[in-house]
Symmetry: none
Subunit: 256 residues, 2 copies
Amino acid sequence: MEYALSDQTTTILEHLFDGLPDVPQPIYAKLKQAISHKISVGEWQTNQRVPSEAEIVNFLGVSRMTVNRALRELTAEGLLIRHQGLGTFVAEKKAHSALFEVHNIAEEIAARGHQHVSKLLTLESARASVEEAMMLGVRTNHGIFRSVVLHYENDIPIQIEERIVNASRAPDYDKQDFSQHTSYEYLMTTAPMTEGEHLVEAILPSETECERLQIAANEPCLQIKRRTWAGEDIITAARLVHPGSRFQLFGHFGRG
Amino acid sequence: MEYALSDQTTTILEHLFDGLPDVPQPIYAKLKQAISHKISVGEWQTNQRVPSEAEIVNFLGVSRMTVNRALRELTAEGLLIRHQGLGTFVAEKKAHSALFEVHNIAEEIAARGHQHVSKLLTLESARASVEEAMMLGVRTNHGIFRSVVLHYENDIPIQIEERIVNASRAPDYDKQDFSQHTSYEYLMTTAPMTEGEHLVEAILPSETECERLQIAANEPCLQIKRRTWAGEDIITAARLVHPGSRFQLFGHFGRG
DNA sequence: ACAATAAACCTGTATAGACAATTAAAACTA
DNA sequence: TAGTTTTAATTGTCTATACAGGTTTATTGT
């Protein structure tokens, strides 16, 4: 049951728990966190081989089933890939699939090799209505910003972005130059998003929206409502409207 | 280590594996599937108490760790809720029915506490056309199945499911009783999905689709095209059409 | 030199047993 | 009766062991 640890393995495992808070937690959870940390800081590179269960067992002096649970759950979460007979490896992608990474329309369009232009239609400082307060999880009359931006891909309208922003977490939102960077880029630097939710629907756009998107009145649109958190606070709530004929959401799940 | 089984428990567990295909599979996976099935068909109601680990152990004659794994994973998937000292219960609904977990419409509807009924419109064995062969990554004239199923939530049409299936990976697809279980359930047991991709669009439905969904001609619909892999093979390609007024996709990302 | 076989690892699953932590109910006490 | 303690049930975690199945490498035989 004893395996010799190679120098390399010892090096890899040596500072496994460095920089992690020592809170009371099950062993398997600590191990998950430690490995997850190694991957997220880039210390363990993509496709790199992770020490085998036996090696971790001998290094930590815990049971194999405990190590197995940690590795198995990290695999289910998409951080690792395991091959019977071969070993465990750092997975290619992050846990989030592409569908959830469609945040920055400018980046998306650039990635397609197209030209992105955005036009700021309205931007105002205001106080939250009852509905807005609910969306942002703040009290009525809490300070907010409202903005409406129209995004173009190669001079064709591709997205209407209606957004309200929690002013206490992004106080300079109204001083931004949205022709230089998108609201998403500013918010990510000011209050890095930790969580979010989406609601995707097919809708018929309003008359105003049809004009802005330059589409027929009966053309279906994809509407995405998105709220993003930083810690406990909701930072922003957005409503994005895309012409159905010009836009698709793509997502991928599983390994690879 | 022996516990007496109450009459009620025996009744609950009696037909645990009824109606499930007997494919070679680990014990914990079979148990997961059986419990998932009980919940999806409404036999085990929301908030109802699930037999304890000890009861299942005595009934099935397997190890507690095996039962524990099944229940733990189902809890992670949001189907069950567990309370230490109390027991295991059928979860209210999928708290965060992630966008990528919306696979089994029957489960989704059951999770909302509603009634699911599906109607098989067409089911045929055929040979792949050029387009179909491309979708499934097989040669033209490769054996496939085509099916069209209409799903109802509380007697209201909620989804048209057009599907083609790789016959060499799911040879008994056309022998299934789709009133007993969904195509998704059969395919998951026959060729467990390892990867998949989605394409979400807003479309105007065809005349036939309007009739089937009982909606107006100009009502926008959410169309989801999905392909799922098992290993290297594409198992199935589906096109799902939902009325925009009756359906939303919800997604959540980040920790939590 | 080449092919077949064996050995060494590695992950996947299953088992039996142990103790901790939590909760509700039962028993006990003032 | 009211409050306290004990007990039983249940889930949560951990260990040690075992065997199956897959993959690579080393060994053996011809």
